[in-house]
Amino acid sequence: MAVCVAVIAKENYPLYIKASTADNELKFYYTVHSSLDVIEEKINSAGKNANDQRELYLGLLYPTEDYKVYGYVTNTKIKFVIVVESSNTTLRDTEIRSMFRKLHQGYVDMLCNPFYIPGESVSSKSFSETVISMMQQ
C-alpha cells in the first residue's frame, strides 16, 4: 500500500518518517520535504474560503513519475504525508482517506501518552505498528 508515511511537526521538521524499504529512504525524505510546499499552499488557499470547518484531508499533493503523494493536516497543523506507488491503481480516494484517519487515530493515541513530549520525534512502538500495517496491506 503506502510506501512511505511521514508525520511532520507544525514547524515543518519531521517527527516520524518510515519508508517501506530502507534503501530509498533518502528519496522519500526529499519527496516529503518538497511536498510541504504544496501542503502550505493548500492550507493557505483553504483558509480563505472556510474559516473553521476545514477539511483535514488535502488530497493528492502532486504526482511524480513513480509515486503519488497525499497530504493531511490536523487542526494543530501536524502534517501527515502518505506516498503510494503510482502503479497501484486499487487505491482510491476513500482508501487514502481511511488510511489517514487511521494514522490520525494512531497519532492521537500516541500523543495521549503522558511521557511523550509533543514535538519530539515519535518512537512509539504501537504507532510504528500502525504505520507498518498500513504499508503491508
Partner: protein, 1482 residues
C-alpha cells in the same frame, strides 16, 4: 527563473534578429585586425539601431521599428559540430561563475522560517542560452536564421577593389547556388548585396578611396555602397596614448578559458569511464593524479551514497562507451580548428598577447562612423529590401490562395479526411517534404521576415495561416515552428495586443517538436523563449513546469550526451528559481530542484556550479531535522569541495556528518568516517607543504564525543591489589560508591578535631581525592609532586561503526611556581615538536594509551595518569589522539579500560597502523552545577565554576601505606581474630601523628606493638584457677571513634614500617557489615595547607551466626531456714546458650561450639557456680541448647569505684582465660559503649527538636531511682568453635559474646535487638502545640524501689485451747534499692484500694479464702529511708486457727517525693508462708 539582464522582449528580439552575412577580403580583414578585431566583431557592438526606423508592411501600413538589431555573421565561419557546440557551452557555463561568493551579497530572502541567501542572477544560464541559440543547427522549416543580406568588404588599399568586390560577390553566388546545404543559409535567391569599402584614415589615401567609392556607387547603385573610414589613430599613437574609453567589444567576444579553470570541468567528476576519454585533461599535473588515485582508493565507498534521483538507466553503457571513443582521436584537431574559427583573430590575438585591448585605433568619430554605416545599411538598404520582399511574397501568396484552397482542400477531403487533425498524432515523422518555393514555405518565409522586422501582428496572422496549412499537411515540424512563432508574435506585441498570450500554442509546439519530430534543440529553444515569456508575465508555475518537462524529456531522448546533463542542470536551476519566485515562494521545491540541478551539474562536470547548487539547497535543509537529506547534501558538498581542492571546506562539511548522531546505517557512516579522515589528512598534509612546518596547535576532531561532565579526577596513586595473605588499604578509586563520602567527611572531621585539640580549624573543609560531577568543585584539587593524578574520561561513540584512537594523551598546561622574580612561563604539551614534548614530559609525565577501539555507539571510560614533577598549577584541558576508522576485517575485542595502559599486543598493531588516521585533539570542558541562589540565577541558566581539572600541585608529602595480614573475609558472630597491620611510609618525608577513625569501633581493637611478640593466641591463658577475679580500671570514655596509633618515637621515617596487632571481632548480627577506617597522618615538618593526609580503608566482613545467649537474673528465692543470713540482693542467673549455626555440606559451617568460660564483669557483682560440680561437657552441637545457671554475689564494698570493674571468671575447663586481658576486655568495653551512630538520620537533628525546651533524658533524670533495679552485670561468654570450611578442613576459632543483664526479671540477649525503623508520622504543616510533658520515672522502676522480706518463724505451735488467738512477731525487712531518699508507707489493712487501684490478684484471692489471720497493731506506718538503707520493722500477726498462711498480704507504698498521693505499691509476689499448728492436736 532567475532575473536576467535582458528583458524577455529584448531577449526574443535578440534571439530572432535579421541575420546578415559578411564576406571580407583579406586586406580589409587586416585593416580591421589592427584593432585586434575582425570586421564582424568590429561592427558588432553597433548593430543595434539607436534611432527609430520606419517600415511599411505589405498592406502599406507604416510601422515603427524600435531598436532593430542586426546579426552579423562571418560567412567563412564554420558551423559548430554538436561536439564543439557542447564544449563551447561547457566553457561558457564554467566561465560564468557567480562573481561574488556567498556571504558578501546581502541578498537575503526571508521565507517563513527560512532566511535564504540567494543569488538571483544566473549569468551562466544567459551565456549558455546565447551560445545555445547561436549554435542551434539550422532547419529547413524556418528562415529566421537565414541570412537576408551579404555585405562585401574590401579595403581602399586593395589594388583593385572593384574587381575584388566582384570576386567576393561571385563567391557568395557560387556558394548559394552550388552548396545549398553549406552554412550560412540564404533567405532567398536574390538576397541583398551590400558593398563596403573600408578606408584606413592613416595609411591609405583618401582620394583613392573616394574614387573607388564613386565607381562602386556607379556599378552597384548608390544605395548599396558605403565608404567606411576607420583607424583614425595610428598604431604608434596607440602605444603612446592611454586608451581609457570603455571597450564596447568585450561583452561580445568569446572569452578564452583559463587553463587554470579548465581543470574544473573535466569529465572525471561523474564517472570513471569518462575520465579516460579526455587524456589531455589529466595531464594537468601529478597532484591531480594523486587525488584521483586517492578517490579511487576510497571509491568503493563512494558509490554507497548515490544520488537518489539518478536513473539507473541514464547511462546506457554501450552507447556511452562508444561515444567518447569517436571524437577522442580527432578531438585535438577539431578542437583546435574550432578555436581558431571561433575567434577569427585567434592567431593575431595570441601573437599580440592578452595585454592588447580592442579597437585601439578607433577614435570616437570612427565609432560614430560605424554607427552611421549600420544605420545607412539598415535604413537605406535592408529595410527597403525587406519591404520589397514582403510585398512580393505577399502578392505571390494572395494569388495562389484561392487555387490552393480549392485543390488542396478537396483533395484532403477525399483522401485524407478521416485522419486525425488535432496535431497530436504521435510517431509520425514528417513525411511531407516541401519544395524550396512551395507556397507553404513562402508563407513561412513571409511570416519570418515580418517577425524579424517587428511586424508582429502581420507575422501572427501569417504564422496562424501557415500553421493551419502545415497541420493539414501533417508537416509536424513546420507546424510546430509556426505554432512557436505564432505565440511569440503575440507575446512580442506586448500588452497593447488584444490577444491573450497563447501559451497552449507553445505547449503543443514543444510537444510536437519533441514527440513527433524528435527535434530536441528546437524544443529547447521553444522552452527557453516560452519560459522567458511566461515569467515576464509572472506565470512562474507554468514556466517551472515547462522547464521540468523539458528536463525530463531530455533524459529519455538524449541521455547519452553530457550536454544534456548540463542543460538539465541549468533548466532545473531555472525551475528552482521559478519556484522561489512564486507567491508564496515554494522554498522546499526550490531546494529540491537545486539539488537535482546540482546532481546534474556534477554529472556534467561543472563542479563549482554543483557545489553552489548544493550549498543553496543546504540552507533550506540545514538544521531542520531532515537528517538523511542533510547528510546527503553535506556529503556531496564535501566531495565537491574535495574535488575543487578546497580541503578546509570539505573537512568542515564532512565534520557535519560525524558530529550529529546520524540515522545513517553503519556502512554509510563508515564511508563518511573514512572520507572525512582521508580528506582531513590531505588537508593537514597540504598545510604542511604550504607552511613548511606543522602548526603548533592541534586541530579539533569531531569524534568521539566526550562526556565532559562525567570526567572524574583522582589524586593519589592507585591502591595496591592484595597479594598472598596481604591486603592493602583500599584507598580511593573510581569504583567507590559516591554516597559514602558523607561518612568519610564525618570521620575526617573527627580526626581533624582530635588532632587540633578538639576543635575544627577555621578554614576547615573536608578534603577529597575523587572529584566528579557530584562533588563540590569550587576549589582546586590538590596534587603532590611525584604522585600520580588519574583522570577518567568517558568517550562516547555516536556512530554505529567502531573508531580507533591511538596514542591517546592528555593535554595540559602547567604554570610552575618558582620562587624567582621573573614571571613563570606557561608550559603545555600541545605541540608537534618532539624536543618540546620531551621537555614537557620532564615536568609532567603523562601516560600514553596505545590504542582504544571504541565500538559503535559505545561509551567507554578511559583512565590516564599524569605525574607532575614540579610544583605549580596544572590544568588539564584536552585529549589528543590519532583518530582512525576501525578496520572492519579485523574485529578486535574492545579492550577493557584497565588493560589499556599496559601496551598493545602485536596483533593489535596491525589494526591501526594500516588505516588512515589524523592527529587532533578535543577539549574537555566541565560545567559546574547550575546556580539557583539569586533571582537572576533562577531565571537564567547560570552555572557555577568547576575547577576539578585545574589542579594545584604541592610539594611532596609522606605517603602512608597500610597493609593487613590475614584479614579474614568471613567471621563467626562474635569471633575474635588477630590481624597484623603494618604501616609503611613510602614517601620521602617522615610522617607523624598517625590516627585512626572508624565508623564502627566496636569491632576493632588495636594493640600495641609489644603484643605481637606474644604467642599468636587470641586470649591470654592462666592456669591459676583459684584467684579467679581481677580488678581492672576501665575507662568507658576511652572508647571513641578516633584513636591514636602508637608508633615508636612518634615519627615514621621514610621507608620504615611499624606492625601492630589488630583484633577484629565479628558483628553480633549475621550478615555483611561494612566498616570504614580512615587513617590520618601529618608530615613531620609543618607544611602549608593542607597539613595532613588521609588514607581510607573500607572492609566488608561477612559474619555467620554462631551462638546466641539469653540470660535472665531472678532474685534469689532463698528459704529462710536454709541460711541464717538473709540477703535481699542475691540473684540467680540462668543462661541459655544456643548454637544457631547449621551444618551445611560443602560449605563452611560450625560443627560445634564449646563454651570455655563465663566471666562476669561488673562493678558490684561477681559470679559463682550454682553448684560445685564441675561442668565438663559444655559442647553445643548445631541447633542445640545449653542451659547454665549461675549465682551472683555482691562484691566487697571497697571495690566500688565508678571506673573500676571486677572481672570474675568461671572456667569450664582447667585453664582460665584472662577476661581482663587485652582483646577480651576491650571488646567487652566496646560492647557496652553506646556510640553515636554515623547514620545520617541521627546526625541531622530535626529542627523541631531544637525549638522546644531542652529535653531531659528520662534515664538520666531518675538515675538515682533507676539504680534500684539496675543490675549492671555483664556476662562474657568465651567460646571455642570448630569450624569446617568449604574445603573440609577444620579450624578452631575463639570468640566472645556479651550479655548485659541490666535488670532483674527480664531476659537479655547477646545480640542487640534490631530496632525496626519507625514509620514516620505524616508530615503536618500546622504548628503543633508542644505539650510539656511531666517526666515520670518508669512504672517498672517505681514498683521496685523498695524490696522487702518478712522475717519470721515459719512454723508456730500454738495451743488454741489456751488462747483463741495466736500472735506472731514478724520483722519486715525493707531495703531501699535506690540511691534516693524514699518515703515508705506500710499498710497492713486490707483496704489496699484506698491508695491505689492496682490490685494484686493473687493476694486478693488469698485474702478471700483465708480470713483466719489478720495484722494487729498499727495498720499504717510511714518511714523515710536513706539510700541503700536496710530497715527492719516489727509487725505482729494474729491467727485464729491453725493452718498454713501466706502472710504476705500487706502493702508497701513508696514515694520518691514527699507527695504522699503519688505513692506506688511495690511489687512483691513471693509468698511468706507460716504454718500454725495447734498444740492440742499434737
Amino acid at each position: 527563473m532567475a532575473q536576467h539582464k535582458q528583458t524577455a522582449h529584448d531577449f526574443i528580439q535578440c534571439a530572432f534578429s535579421p541575420q546578415v552575412a559578411v564576406l571580407t577580403s583579406n586586406d580589409a580583414e587586416q585593416l580591421c585586425q589592427k584593432n585586434n578585431l575582425s570586421f564582424t566583431q568590429l561592427v558588432q557592438p553597433f548593430c543595434r539601431l539607436t534611432t527609430e526606423a520606419q517600415i511599411k508592411d505589405p498592406n502599406n501600413v507604416l510601422h515603427t521599428l524600435q531598436r532593430l538589431r542586426i546579426g552579423m555573421i562571418d560567412m567563412n565561419c564554420q558551423v559548430s559540430t554538436p561536439l564543439v557546440a557542447k564544449k563551447m557551452m561547457n566553457d561558457t557555463v564554467t566561465n560564468e561563475q557567480p562573481q561574488i561568493h556567498e556571504g558578501s551579497r546581502g541578498n537575503v530572502m526571508t521565507v517563513g522560517d527560512y532566511d535564504l541567501q540567494l543569488s538571483s542572477a544566473t549569468p551562466w544560464f544567459e551565456a549558455y542560452r546565447d551560445v545555445f541559440l547561436q549554435t542551434i543547427p539550422p532547419s529547413e522549416h524556418e528562415f529566421l536564421k537565414h541570412c537576408l543580406a551579404c555585405i562585401f568588404v574590401v579595403s581602399s588599399s586593395h589594388p583593385e577593389p572593384l574587381a575584388m568586390l566582384h570576386t567576393l560577390s561571385n563567391t557568395q553566388q557560387q556558394q548559394q547556388s552550388q552548396f545549398p546545404n553549406k552554412l550560412p543559409q540564404w533567405f532567398s535567391p536574390n538576397i541583398l548585396k551590400y558593398y563596403v569599402l573600408v578606408h584606413d584614415m592613416v595609411e591609405a589615401e583618401a582620394a583613392k578611396a573616394e574614387a573607388v567609392y564613386q565607381s562602386m556607387k556607379s556599378s552597384f547603385g548608390h544605395q548599396s555602397c558605403h565608404l567606411l573610414q576607420i583607424n583614425s589613430r595610428s598604431v604608434t599613437a596607440v602605444e603612446t596614448t592611454d586608451t581609457s574609453f570603455p571597450d564596447p567589444w568585450g561583452q561580445f567576444l568569446h572569452k578564452t578559458p583559463d587553463n587554470m579553470e579548465g581543470v574544473d570541468y573535466d569529465g572525471s567528476a561523474s564517472s570513471g569511464a569518462e575520465e579516460g576519454s579526455f587524456p589531455n585533461k589529466v595531464e594537468e599535473g601529478t597532484e591531480k593524479h594523486a587525488i584521483n588515485d586517492g578517490l579511487n582508493g576510497i571509491g568503493n565507498n563512494s558509490t554507497v551514497i548515490d544520488h537518489p534521483l539518478a536513473l539507473s538507466d541514464s547511462l546506457p553503457s554501450p552507447g556511452f562507451e562508444d561515444y567518447p571513443s569517436l571524437p577522442s582521436k580527432g578531438s585535438h584537431m577539431s578542437l583546435s580548428s574550432v578555436q581558431s574559427s571561433m575567434t577569427k583573430s585567434g592567431s593575431f590575438h595570441s601573437e599580440k598577447g592578452r595585454v592588447m585591448g580592442h579597437g585601439m585605433c578607433l577614435t570616437a568619430s570612427d565609432q560614430d562612423r560605424i554607427r552611421i554605416f549600420i544605420h545607412e545599411f539598415s535604413v537605406r538598404a535592408l529595410i527597403p529590401w525587406a519591404e520589397r520582399q514582403m510585398r512580393t511574397l505577399n502578392e505571390l501568396l494572395m494569388s495562389r490562395a484561392g487555387f490552393r484552397k480549392s485543390i488542396v482542400g478537396t483533395a484532403k477531403k477525399w483522401f485524407g479526411g478521416n485522419t486525425n487533425k488535432t496535431g497530436q498524432v504521435a510517431n509520425t515523422a514528417t513525411t511531407v517534404v516541401y519544395s524550396k518555393d512551395a507556397p507553404e514555405l513562402q508563407m513561412r518565409r513571409l511570416a519570418d521576415l515580418a517577425f524579424l522586422f517587428q511586424l508582429y501582428e502581420f507575422a501572427y496572422n501569417t504564422y496562424h495561416t501557415a500553421k493551419r496549412d502545415f497541420n493539414n499537411d501533417h508537416a509536424w515540424l513546420h507546424f510546430a515552428g509556426a505554432l512557436e512563432m505564432a505565440s511569440l508574435s503575440t507575446f512580442m506585441q506586448g500588452p497593447q495586443s488584444q490577444r491573450v498570450y497563447p501559451d497552449h500554442y507553445m505547449e503543443s509546439a514543444i510537444t510536437t517538436y519533441l514527440q513527433s519530430c524528435k527535434n530536441e534543440p528546437y524544443a529547447v529553444r521553444a522552452t527557453l523563449t516560452s519560459t522567458e515569456a511566461l515569467t515576464s508575465r509572472g506565470k512562474y508555475k507554468e514556466a517551472a513546469m515547462q522547464f521540468i518537462k523539458m528536463m525530463s524529456e531530455d533524459v529519455f531522448t538524449s541521455a547519452v550526451f553530457q550536454e544534456s546533463d548540463l542543460r538539465a542542470a541549468l533548466l532545473l536551476e531555472q525551475a528552482a528559481h521559478c519556484f522561489i519566485n512564486m507567491r508564496p515562494p515554494m522554498v522546499r521545491k526550490y531546494a529540491f530542484h537545486m539539488i537535482l540541478s546540482g546532481h546534474r551539474f556534477t554529472k556534467s562536470g561543472q563542479r563549482k556550479h554543483a557545489l553552489r547548487s548544493y550549498n543553496q539547497a543546504l540552507q533550506i535543509y540545514k538544521g531542520k531535522g531532515w537528517d538523511l537529506a542533510e547528510d546527503h547534501i553535506n556529503f556531496t558538498v564535501g566531495r565537491q569541495y574535495h574535488n575543487l581542492k578546497q580541503l578546509e571546506n570539505a573537512t568542515a562539511a564532512f565534520k557535519h556528518l560525524l558530529t550529529v548522531a546520524s540515522r545513517q546505517p553503519a556502512p554509510q557512516q563508515n564511508a563518511f568516517l573514512r572520507e572525512y579522515l582521508f580528506v582531513y589528512r590531505q588537508l593537514l598534509m597540504q598545510e604542511v607543504e604550504e607552511t613548511g612546518l606543522q602548526s603548533n596547535t592541534l586541530p579539533e576532531l569531531p569524534l568521539p564525543a566526550l562526556d565532559s561532565n562525567a570526567t572524574r579526577v583522582l589524586t593519589g596513586a592507585r591502591p595496591l591489589q592484595p597479594h598472598d595473605d596481604k591486603t592493602y588499604a583500599t584507598g580511593v578509586w573510581f569504583d567507590d560508591v559516591e554516597g559514602s563520602s558523607k561518612n568519610w567527611e564525618k570521620l575526617e572531621e573527627l580526626l581533624v578535631m582530635s588532632a587540633n585539640g578538639g576543635s575544627l580549624p577555621l578554614a576547615y573543609r573536608p578534603s577529597n581525592a575523587l572529584y566528579s560531577n557530584s562533588t563540590d568543585n569550587k576549589f582546586n584539587p590538590v596534587g603532590y609532586v611525584r604522585e600520580p593524578i588519574t583522570i577518567e574520561i568517558y568517550l562516547v561513540n555516536p556512530l554505529k561503526v567502531a573508531v580507533t584512537l591511538t596514542d591517546v594523551k592528555l593535554l595540559w598546561s602547567f604554570l610552575p611556581t618558582i620562587a624567582s622574580h621573573d614571571k613563570p612561563q606557561l608550559i603545555t604539551n600541545e605541540t608537534m615538536l618532539s624536543a618540546k614534548n620531551n621537555l614537557a614530559d620532564e615536568i609532567v609525565q603523562g601516560q600514553v594509551v596505545k590504542e582504544i577501539i571504541l565500538q559503535g555507539s559505545d561509551r567507554l571510560p578511559v583512565k590516564m595518569t599524569l605525574v607532575p614533577h614540579q610544583m605549580g598549577e596544572l590544568r588539564i584541558y584536552g585529549l589528543t589522539y590519532n583518530l582512525g576508522s576501525h578496520a572492519t576485517t579485523f574485529m578486535a575485542p574492545s579492550q577493557g579500560p584497565d588493560s589499556l595502559g599496559v601496551g598493545v599486543a602485536g596483533s593489535h598493531k596491525a589494526s591501526y597502523v594500516s588505516t588512515v588516521y589524523v592527529r587532533g585533539k578535543q577539549k574537555i570542558e566541565v560545567q559546574g552545577p547550575r546556580l539557583n541562589g539569586k533571582k537572576e540565577e533562577m531565571a537564567g541558566k547560570m552555572y557555577g565554576p568547576d575547577r576539578r581539572l585545574d589542579l594545584s600541585v604541592h610539594q611532596e608529602m609522606p605517603i602512608l601505606q597500610v597493609s593487613f595480614t590475614n584479614f579474614p573475609k568471613t567471621l563467626l558472630c562474635g569471633e575474635v581474630h588477630l590481624v597484623t597491620v603494618t604501616f609503611t611510609n613510602t614517601g620521602s618525608i617522615p610522617l607523624q601523628k598517625l590516627k585512626l577513625a572508624s565508623t564502627n569501633p566496636k569491632y576493632f581493637v588495636l594493640g600495641r606493638s609489644e603484643d605481637l611478640k606474644l604467642p599468636a593466641n587470641v586470649y591470654s591463658i592462666s592456669s591459676n584457677l583459684k584467684d579467679n577475679s581481677a580488678f581492672v580500671t576501665c575507662d568507658r570514655n576511652s572508647v571513641k571513634h578516633v584513636c591514636d596509633i602508637d608508633i615508636p618515637n612518634g615519627v615514621l621515617h621514610q621507608a620504615s614500617s611499624v606492625s601492630l596487632p589488630l583484633w577484629i571481632r565479628g558483628n553480633d548480627i549475621g550478615g555483611v557489615h561494612e566498616v570504614d577506617l580512615l587513617f590520618y597522618y601529618q608530615a613531620s615538618q609543618q607544611t602549608t595547607k593542607p597539613r595532613y593526609r588521609l588514607l581510607r580503608h573500607s572492609v566488608q566482613v561477612n559474619t555467620v551466626e554462631s551462638l546466641s545467649v539469653r540470660a535472665v537474673a531472678q532474685r534469689a528465692c532463698k528459704h529462710s531456714s536454709e541460711t541464717e543470713h538473709i540477703s535481699v540482693t542475691d540473684f540467680v542467673i540462668s543462661c541459655e546458650l544456643e548454637n544457631l549455626s547449621q551444618i551445611q555440606l560443602s560449605r563452611s559451617h560450625v560443627r560445634e561450639v564449646c563454651v570455655r568460660q563465663i566471666s562476669c564483669s561488673s562493678q558490684r557483682w561477681g559470679v559463682e557456680p550454682l553448684s560445685r560440680t564441675a561442668h565438663t561437657d559444655t559442647k553445643i552441637g548445631s541447633r542445640e541448647l545449653l542451659q547454665v545457671c549461675l549465682k551472683s554475689m555482691v562484691l566487697s564494698e571497697s571495690a566500688h569505684r565508678p571506673d573500676m570493674y571486677t572481672f570474675t571468671d568461671l572456667p569450664f575447663q582447667n585453664t582460665r582465660l584472662l577476661s581482663s586481658a587485652t582483646p577480651c576486655r576491650e571488646f567487652y568495653l566496646r560492647s557496652r559503649v553506646k556510640l553515636k551512630s554515623f547514620d545520617l538520620e541521627t546526625t541531622v537533628n530535626p529542627p523541631s527538636a531544637q525549638l522546644g525546651p531542652p529535653k531531659v533524658d528520662p534515664e538520666l533524670a531518675f538515675e538515682s531511682l533507676n539504680c534500684a533495679i539496675n543490675l549492671d552485670m555483664a556476662l562474657i561468654i568465651l567460646w571455642e568453635a570448630q569450624v569446617v570450611d568449604s574445603a573440609g578442613e577444620e579450624r578452631t576459632c575463639v570468640g566472645q559474646h556479651h550479655v548485659i543483664v541490666e535488670k532483674p526479671e527480664s531476659f537479655f540477649t547477646s545480640y542487640p535487638f534490631q530496632i525496626l525503623p519507625k514509620e514516620r508520622p505524616p508530615i503536618k504543616f500546622t504548628r503543633e502545640e508542644v505539650t510539656s510533658e511531666v517526666i515520670k520515672p518508669a512504672f517498672e522502676v517505681l514498683t521496685q524501689l523498695v524490696s522487702y522480706t518478712m522475717k519470721h518463724k515459719t512454723r508456730q505451735t500454738h495451743s488454741f485451747q489456751q488462747t483463741r488467738v495466736c500472735l506472731l512477731g514478724v520483722t519486715l525487712m525493707l531495703q531501699n534499692n535506690s540511691e534516693a531518699d524514699v518515703t515508705v508507707l506500710v499498710d497492713t489493712s486490707r483496704a489496699q484500694q484506698r491508695l491505689s487501684d492496682i490490685q494484686d490478684a493473687a493476694g486478693q484471692a488469698l485474702e478471700n479464702s483465708t480470713t483466719g489471720f489478720s495484722w494487729v497493731g498499727q495498720t499504717q506506718r510511714q518511714v523515710t529511708m536513706t539510700p541503700k538503707q536496710v530497715l527492719e520493722l516489727s509487725l505482729s500477726v494474729s491467727f485464729s486457727r491453725p493452718g498454713v498462711y501466706n502472710i504476705n498480704n500487706l502493702a508497701v507504698f513508696v514515694s520518691h517525693t514527699n507527695d504522699v498521693s503519688e505513692m506506688t505499691l511495690q511489687k512483691q509476689t513471693r509468698p511468706s508462708v507460716v504454718s500454725v499448728l495447734d498444740k492440742g492436736h499434737q
